[in-house]
Symmetry: D2
Subunit: 440 residues, 4 copies
C-alpha cells in the first residue's frame, strides 16, 4: 500500500456484500474512520443475490450518509471492477446458499454422523464447493490488486485460508469471531478492559484450545477450569463439560470440540433438533428473512439491535481491528488463522493454524506457543490431515482423495460409512462440484 | 561387547523364559550357532512361572544336547545373576498373566469399545501394568550389563520400547513378527527368495502401512492393492478390505488397522466370538496347555510342529536375525521398532516407530522414508499421542494423564465412555498397578 | 512475581553495582518509578570493588533523595542477602577487571589476530573467566529468588546468556545497547518518534544484521544501503563500508561485523592505536577514573553529562524498558538476546540469538524472522559453533575443547596460530581459570 | 528402468568421454559385465576434444574386443543421440579445459588466497563456468532419458550435484574417489578385506570428516588419531596434521581441509610450487600428454599401469560400484554426494552432502549420522552457504550474488580482496560466462 494512496483513503471490497452481516461491517468502518480512512466501499454479490445486495447496500448508504463521512458506497455484480486496486477485500460467501447448508447438516445425520457446516463431512462438502470459487477470486486479486489483503470469513475458514495460501499468491488472513468473543466474555465476567486480558490459543479454526487466561496479570485458567458451574449464562466457555475431563485437559476447549469429545451427546441433540425444527439452515433462513425486512425500511439508518442476536457477533469488530492494525502497523496481538511456518512444530509450514499473532505492517507474525499440551497434538494432526486432503480433493476433483479425507476424519466411524456418505453427499452437491463431475 | 568376550561366546538371557515360544528361540540359536556363538543361555522367570520354566527349560536342554553344541542352558528365578554381563537380553512377559489379558479383552466390549490386548484400552492397561516392571529390569541392566542389547517382544511392543528409550539408558530394540511374516508370504506367493523381496514400512508397531513391495526388482504394490480376491488363504495381507478404499489408500495396511478402519465390523465380530467362546485369552490358554503337555514329554528333543500354528510364528527368526546382524555388523535391512530421530518428521525424536533399519554393529539406523502418504499422518500422530500419554501415566501413576490418554485414543468414542471405562479397568487391574493405588 | 509483593514495590539487585554505569540505571529507576515501582535497590560488588561501590552508591543515594521517591538503596558485598527474594537482577561485571581486558586486547595482536574483548580470542578469554562466576551467581538465584528475572549485560553477552540458559534454570535475558542505539539514530535522522520506527534484527549479539528499517511505515532500508556518504557523524550505521558490498548485502551490518568483513583494515587500525595509546583498556581506565572523581563530589545528585560520552549509552534505558515490560506485561517489541527455540531454523533451540521479541508477562517471545539472507547463514553458524564450544570449555575446563573453539573461530587464521595463542592466553589468565588449572 | 530393456543390456553414456580417465571406466565395465550388462557404451565429447576422443575411443574398442564381451562402443559429438534412452550417464568435463584451470589456480595466489580448482575462489570459477553447461545437458536428459541416472564426477562435484538437484528433475548422484581411497588404504594397512571395513563420513564433497573407522568390528579411530607418525607413505590420512589438533578434533579430516586448517602453510607451498613449476594445471597437462601418447599405441588393448599414478585413482571403481548397486538394488552402503533431506539437521533439504548411503533400486538413501561433532558444524555451514550462493550466481549471472559468495568463503580474507579477486576472475573467464557478460 503506497503512501499516496493512503492520503486519498482506502478502497475496501466486501465479496458477498449482500450478507446480513454487512451492516455490522459498515458500522465498524464509520466508527473507526479516524484510524482506517475508508474512501470507497464496494459491496459485491452474484446475480442471484442482487435483491439482497440492494436492500443491504441501501441501508449501508443511509448509514454512511447519517455519519457525514466521505465514504462512497458502490453496489455491483462486477467483481473485477470492484477488486481493481483494492486495499482490503473481505469474503463472506455461501456457495449453494442456505439450501446447500441444509444438505450439509442433514445428510450425515442419516448415517449417524455429526451434521455441521464447518466440522465433519458437512464442512468438507462446503469446502469442496467453496474452494474453487475462492481461488477464482484469488486469480482476479493476483492480477488486479496484488498488494491487497484478503480477510477471509468464509467457512470452513481454516481450510479455505489454507487453500488460498497454498494455491495462490494472495496475502490472506482467516478470521473467526470466537477469540474476540472469549475476550468479551472475560471483560464482562471480570469487569475489566480488553487490554487487561491476555489469552493464548493453540490449534486450528474451530478446533482450538485456550491454554492461558491472564486477567489483570493474574492467571485465571485454573479457576475457570475448576468452576464449571459458578459462571452462568449462555456462551460461558466451560458450560457442559465433564469437570474431571476439563481439569485434566488443562485448557479451555473450543465449543466445536464438543463434536469430538461428546460426540454421542451432540449427535443425539442434533437428531432431536432436526426432528423438531428441521435443520439449522432452516432456522437461520427464518432469522435472515426477518433481518432483511428490517433492513428494507427506508427510515432505518443504523445497524438494528436484532443483528446482535445472530450467531456472528463481533465479526465486524474482528475485521476492522485487523484492517486497522495492518494499515497502521500497530504491532498488537490478535488471534488469527495464518500459515504455520514452524509455530506448531509437527504441522507443515503451509498449514493454516489459529494462534496469537503480532499484526505488523507487512502482515501477521505468529507468536511462539508457550504451551502445546501433549494430549491435543494427535487430534490437531488428525483434523489437519483431513483438511489437507480436502483441499487437495477440492483442487483436483479426485474422488479417491476425497474418500481418504472422509475416512480419516475423526468423526467418521468407518470406511463403510465413509464410502456411502461420500457418494450421497457428492451426488447431492453435483451442481456445485464441476471438478468432480466434468462435462463430457 | 568386547573382543575377548566374543572369543568365548555370547551370554544370552530370556526374561519370561518359561514362555511357550522359547523352543523356537532355542532352535534358532542352534541353527545359527556358526554366526551367533551363544555360550550361555539363561532362561529367567518369576516364582509363579517356575513350573512352566522347568518344563520349557528341560526341553531346551534336550534340544541343545541333541545338537552337540557347547551351549550351557541355565534356568533361574534370580534375574540379576542372569543379567550380569549379558550380551543379549530378550523379554517376552505378561504381567498379570492370561487372567489379566482376559480382562483387557472383555471389559471394553461392555462399553461398545474394541477389546484387544495391544490396540485400544486393552493395550493401554497392559502397558500400565508392564512398563514399571520392565523399567525395573532396565535398572538392573544399566547396572549389570550396560553394553547389552535388549530385544523387546513384550506387547504393546511399540509403547514398551519407547518407555525404555525415554526412561532408561538401556540399548533396546522392539520386535514384531509382522514384517518377517509379510516377507514369508511374498516369497511363497511369488516363488522367490527373501533377498529378492524389498518392502518399505511406515508407522508404529501394530499401526503400520507397507508403501512399497518390490519382488525381483519389480514394483508389485499396485497389483497387490488391486487384487483383493485373487490371492487366497489366511494371512493374505489384502483380505477383507474394501477394494476402493484399499486402492485409494495406496499402501497395504497392517491387519491391526482393521480396528480403526472397520471398527464396527471388528467390534461385532469380537462380541460374537466372546458370546461363543469367551475371550481370546481363554482360547490361548487352551492352546498353551496343550503345548506344555507336549513339552513335558522327556522324549521330545526338538521344537514341536504344533508351535508353528500358534500366532507368534517367526518371532524367533526375527530375534535371531537381529542378534546376528548386531553381533556381526551385517549392515543388512530389517524392519524394527526404534527411536524416531527425525525419520517421521512430525513425531518427536524419542517416539518409537516401526520402519526399515540398517543394522550396524552399534545399532539399527532407521532408513529415510521414501513415501509417507499424507492420509495416514493424522492417525499415526493420534495413536502416538495416546501412546506417549500412556507411558507418562504408567510412570507417574497419574489418573488425569491416563484419562487424557483414554479420551484421545481414536477407538474411544467420547469422554463419558472414557471415564467409565478407565475407572473399571483401573479397578480391575488394581493388584498390578501400585503406581495408581499407593499403599497408605 | 506475586500480586502481594507488587503492592509493596520491587526488589532490584545490581551485581557489579560499583560500575560507572550505575548512575544511568538509577536515573532510569527514578524516571520510570510510576511504571516500575522499585522499593529496594541493592548494589552488590566484590571486596576489591568496595571503594568504587561506596562512591557510586552514595551518589545513587543522593539521586534518590533528590527525587523524593520511596526507594531504599543498599550497598553490600553480601551477594546472597541481596539476591534473596529479588524481582530483577542485573549483572555488569568484569572478572579480572581492566587488567584482564588489557591482556584480552593485546595478546592476539602479537599473532596478527584481532584483539577485542567481545569478538574473537579476547572475547573467548573473557567468557572463560566469566561463565563460572556467573553460574555461581545463578546457583544463588535458583535457591534464593527462583522467580527473579536476570538481565545480563556482562559481555560477551550472547555467550554468557546462552551459558545461563543451558547450565541453569534462571530466567534470563541478554541485553545490548546497539538496537536501542540504532532506533535513537533513526529518530534523529528522520526527525520522528521511536514508536514510528520498526527495525528487524537477525543474528547473534555483536554479530547481527538489520534486515528491515521502516520509518513512518515506509521502507528506508534501500535508501540507507545506497547512501554510504550522505549521512554524517559518528555512529552512522553505514559509515566505512564498501558501497558495492553494502548494497549487495541487503542489510545493515553491526559495527562488530567489520572485524569479519574488513579484518585486515581493522587489525591494522588496532595495531596502530596500540602503538600510540596502549590498548583500549588503558583508555577506558582513564575515562573511568575521571568519572569516579566526579561521582565522589558530595554536591552531585544527578547523573553527570560526561557519562553519556562513554561507550555504553542507552544501557540503562534498555534495562528499564525491559523490566517495565516484563512487570506490566506490555507485549511490546524489543530486540533481545534469548534462546532460539526454532526462530533461526538452523541453530539449536538453546542457542542465544539477538532478535525482536514480544515482551510478555511471562517473558520475551522471539518473533518469527521475515528475512534471513542466505549469505549470512554460514557466518552466524560458524560464530555460534565457536560460542558453544567456548561455553563447553568454560564449564568443563577442557583444553581440547578450548582449542577446537579457537581453531574454528573465523578470525583465527590457522591451527598453528590457534595453539600458540591459546597457550599464551590461558597462561596469562591462569589466576581466573581454576577450571583449566586445578590445584593439585 | 524397465524389465524388457534390462534383458537387452544397458546403455551407458560418458560425457567428456575423451578424458584420460575413460580407460579405467572401460576396464570396470569389462570386469563387472556379469553384474552390470552394458550393451552400448557411448563416449561423447565436444568438437574441440574430438582428437582425444578418437584416441581414447579406439583404445576402448580394442579393450572391449580383447574381452570378447558384446559391448558396442560408440564415439560421437552428438550428445542428444547418445543420451536418448540411456540408463546411466556419467559426466567428467572441464569447461575451458586446462587453460581455465591454470587461471583458477594462479589468479588467487596474486591476492594471497589459496588457488585450487575445487576449493576456494578457483572452485567457484569452475562452478560458474560448468553449471550452465551441465544444466543444458540435464535439459536433454529430462527430455530424452528421464529415467536415467546421472553420475556426476565433474568438480566441484558437491556444488555441481546440488545445482542439478535444485535446477533439474534429473536423478543424479555426485561421486568422489576419496571414500573408496580411504577404504583401500585401510585394507592395506590392516591387511583385511573391504567388507570388514566400516567408515562413517560427515560433511560436504572435499570438506568431510571421517568420524568412525571400524576394522574387523573394532574401533580403530583413536589409534589412527593418536598415531600421526607410525603409518608412513603418501596418502596416509593423518599425515601432516598437528597431533594435538587431530586428537582434539576426534575425526580424520579430508585432505582438502588442510586449506582451511593450515591455510598459511598450504598457501606458502602453492606459491613456492608455482614459482618452481608453474601451476598444477601445467603439470597435469604434461602427464596427460604422456598418457595420450600411450593410448594412441595401436598395440595397447588394456588400461596402462601409468594411469594409476594419476590423481584420480578409483574413480572408475566408484562409478561401476554405484551403477551395479542401483541396477541390482544391492542395498549396500556407499559414500556418495546426495540431497541432504534432513540428514545434517542444520542444512536445507536440497543441500548436497557427502555421507554414507544405502543404494537401493530407486536411489541412494542417506543413513542417519551417528556423530556430527559440534566443532565442525560452523565450517560445514559456512562452506555450504558459499556453495549455494555460487549456484545462484551461476544460474542468474548476478555479480552481486557472486560477490556475496566470494566474501563469505572462509578462505577469502576480506571484502576488499573479494571485490578485486572477483573482478579479475570474472574478466579472465569472460568467454565461458555468458550469463555474466550478456551480448548486447
Amino acid at each position: 500500500m503506497d503512501v499516496t494512496r493512503v492520503a486519498d483513503g482506502l478502497k475496501v471490497v466486501v465479496i458477498g456484500g449482500g450478507s446480513s452481516y454487512t451492516p455490522e461491517l459498515v458500522e465498524g468502518f464509520i466508527r473507526f474512520h479516524h484510524e482506517l480512512p475508508v474512501r470507497e466501499l464496494w459491496l459485491v454479490d452474484i446475480e442471484a443475490g442482487l435483491h439482497k445486495l440492494n436492500i443491504v447496500g441501501n441501508l449501508a448508504k443511509r448509514m454512511v450518509e447519517r455519519s457525514g463521512l466521505p465514504i462512497e458506497v458502490h453496489l455491483t455484480t462486477d467483481r473485477r471492477t470492484a477488486i481493481k486496486g483494492a486495499d482490503f477485500i473481505s469474503t463472506q460467501m455461501r456457495v449453494g446458499m442456505l439450501e446447500a447448508r441444509g444438505r450439509d447438516e442433514s445428510i450425515p445425520l442419516k448415517y449417524g454422523v455429526i451434521g455441521q457446516e464447518t466440522t465433519g463431512p458437512g464442512g468438507m462438502m462446503k469446502a469442496l464447493r467453496t474452494i474453487p470459487v475462492l481461488l477464482d477470486i484469488c486469480r482476479d486479486i493476483e492480477e488486479l490488486a496484488p498488494q491487497a489483503w484478503l480477510l477471509n470469513f468464509t467457512n470452513p475458514a481454516g481450510i479455505v485460508t489454507e487453500a488460498i495460501h497454498t494455491h495462490s499468491n494472495v496475502r490472506s488472513v482467516g478470521l473467526c469471531n470466537a477469540p474476540i468473543g472469549l475476550t468479551k466474555w472475560l471483560t464482562t465476567t471480570y469487569d475489566t478492559a480488553p487490554e487487561h486480558i491476555y489469552t493464548e490459543f493453540v490449534g486450528l479454526n474451530h478446533l482450538h484450545w485456550v491454554t492461558r487466561v491472564d486477567v489483570n496479570g493474574v492467571d485465571k485458567l485454573p479457576e475457570l477450569l475448576n468452576n464449571t458451574e459458578g459462571f452462568s449464562g449462555k456462551n460461558v466457555p466451560q458450560t457442559g463439560w465433564n469437570p474431571d475431563f476439563l481439569r485434566s485437559l488443562g485448557a479451555l476447549p473450543s465449543y466445536y470440540l464438543k463434536y469430538f469429545y461428546m460426540t454421542d451427546e451432540m449427535l443425539a441433540e442434533q437428531q432431536e433438533s432436526f426432528k423438531k425444527d428441521g435443520n439449522r439452515a432452516a432456522v437461520v433462513k427464518r432469522v435472515e428473512d426477518e433481518l432483511f425486512q428490517l433492513y428494507a425500511d427506508p427510515e432505518l439508518n443504523e445497524k438494528p439491535k436484532q443483528l446482535e442476536q445472530r450467531g456472528g457477533a463481533y465479526y465486524s469488530e474482528a475485521a476492522v481491528n485487523l484492517m486497522k492494525s495492518l494499515y497502521n502497523g500497530k504491532n498488537d496481538i490478535q488471534t488469527l488463522n495464518v500459515a504455520n511456518n514452524g509455530t506448531i512444530d509437527f504441522l507443515p509450514d503451509s498449514a493454516s493454524i489459529e494462534v496469537n499473532c503480532v499484526v505488523t505492517k507487512t502482515g501477521p507474525l505468529p507468536l511462539p506457543l508457550t504451551n502445546v499440551p501433549l494430549h491435543v497434538k494427535g487430534l490437531i494432526h488428525a483434523v489437519k490431515t483431513y483438511e489437507q486432503l480436502t483441499i487437495e480433493a477440492a483442487v483436483t476433483g479426485s474422488r479417491d482423495i476425497a474418500l481418504q479425507a472422509m475416512v480419516h476424519h475423526p468423526l467418521v466411524p468407518n470406511v463403510d460409512v465413509a464410502i456411502k456418505l461420500l457418494d450421497e453427499m457428492l451426488e447431492a452437491n453435483k451442481d456445485y462440484l464441476p471438478q468432480f463431475f466434468p462435462q463430457v
